[in-house]
Symmetry: C2
Subunit: 292 residues, 2 copies
């Protein structure tokens, strides 16, 4: 008879399955740091063995220490370096505060409204993600716990230079952030030459949804729009997209290339070459913009 000579160490893995893709991925969890049900969603925080701390919303990983910089830099910097002089920025969602941190690196910014529906996401991020939330006390930032759809509906015409929609996927609390009415309001409250950036799902698995986002953006009056793709681990499928659109001008007009090269802050992903790549449309994404 065999004797068990040492207790096997148990392994805990969190698995995220992307519906309809035949793909799932797992992160090894060292410790469950936090779990609660907020008024809006289930919120968990894990200490993982390979990705640092990770936040999970309704079963989908929202952010991890390891790869957050790809997403947050792409959501913030291309738009802010295309705009001639961005002063006022609106962030919808963005509860982990990583986009807010990147936006505030730009010295020209006078004011940022961040409108997150779920205060608990911000409070939990402040506790477990100090690097992401380091700028939350910046006097230029106003963090408001309100409905982003209503905020945009009620905002004055031409009141923002850049809008960043850092939302979860278009099911659950973020559903209203993917519609034509919302984009039309974004267009209305932007100044001329202003830009909107939206999280727009997987370019490999959700091309139909991505195409629909661009149809809606152009339908809402935006003069130009483009999908930007970048690496992600935690959003599944290896590559993810954000889409950028501009009011009244082309995305390539007046890009501040010298300011990109001479930016007075450090980036881990974004630079001139990456900007160029982000604004390129690879052949496999051509259907997304065809017929617009």
């Amino acid at each position: 008879m065999e004797r068990i000579t040492a207790a096997a160490e148990s392994e805990l893995w969190f698995t995220e399955r992307m519906a309809g893709t035949g793909f799932q991925y797992s992160l090894q969890v060292a410790e469950v740091l936090h779990a609660e049900v907020t008024p809006f969603q289930r919120l968990e925080v894990f200490r993982t063995t390979g990705f640092g701390t990770a936040m999970v919303l309704d079963g989908f990983v929202n952010v991890s220490d390891k790869d957050e910089f790809f997403y947050h830099e792409v959501m913030a910097h291309p738009a802010l370096f295309i705009h001639a002089r961005p002063r006022r920025v609106l962030i919808i969602g963005g509860g982990d505060c990583g986009v807010l941190r990147e936006v505030l690196r730009h010295g020209d910014i006078d004011h940022v409204d961040m409108v997150e529906i779920d205060e608990r996401v911000v409070r939990v991020a402040e506790r477990f993600f100090p690097a992401l939330t380091a700028s939350n006390g910046d006097p230029r930032a106003a963090i408001r716990f309100e409905d982003g759809v209503a905020w945009v509906r009620d905002a004055a015409d031409a009141s923002y230079d850049v809008i960043i929609v850092d939302s979860t996927d278009p099911v659950g609390p973020a559903e209203g952030l993917f519609g034509a009415t919302f984009y039309a309001d974004c267009h209305r409250i932007l100044t001329d030459g202003g830009l909107v950036v939206v999280q727009s799902e997987s370019p490999l698995f959700h091309q139909g949804r991505l195409a629909e986002i661009h149809r809606c953006l152009r339908g809402a009056g935006f003069a130009d729009s483009h999908p930007m793709t970048y690496p992600t681990v935690i959003y599944g499928g290896g590559t993810w997209s954000s889409s950028i659109a501009r009011k009244g001008r082309r995305l390539g007009d007046g890009v501040r290339w010298d300011d990109i090269d001479n930016r007075p802050f450090t980036t881990r992903y974004y630079d001139r070459g990456i900007h160029t790549g982000l604004m390129s449309l690879p052949g496999y994404l051509a259907p997304v913009l065809s017929g617009l």
Copy 2:
């Protein structure tokens, strides 16, 4: 008592774990199409539900229909458009034949030697991956089933313009393809201005290994080298790298931008903007080239 009213459909998932990363991913398998043990490795072919046909070598996914184009295009086109007039190309490994297909799209190419150690990989690819192996009958291509390390050691000085090392990871049959001696031979058998491209692992998880590859490349005499990162699903971790190095010239010298724009074949990923992005060094990769 409950009655079972329908048989639950069983689900088959193939899981690949990246050692030491706390990350694993899974593809849903609809059918095992083929399985054998070759003289060199275990070889399986799956029909997956989300990625088409996938080939697995020693438990690691080597290629899938869904995302093969990212890898194969990056392995072939940047080097072939940097070189002023590439005539003779050597592919080491490359058994799925996708790199060969991309190389042969270039009309200037006179001759390609593809040296794959495991004939079974090519034969199985010819059976299950018709799109990848469509160019195998091209009269410019010589497919040889030999040891790539010996081939490079025995090749004449200055006998190739471009060498592409499309290998598996540096364990098992490909181990000899990641060393200083091999790179020195590559340098010797390249013409002046010639380029080598090597599969160089994950930029997020294997940065030490990637840095070592660049130390070896520069140590072997290459005048310039650069890591190129691109999306992958099946290589795990969302982003992967290939590294490119050049004999006697900088990688940016004489890039044939007009030929990139006017290429007489279709690409799904590579173009001018992607080339620019691939040749950019994001901040998080700076340690890979520091001190070289």
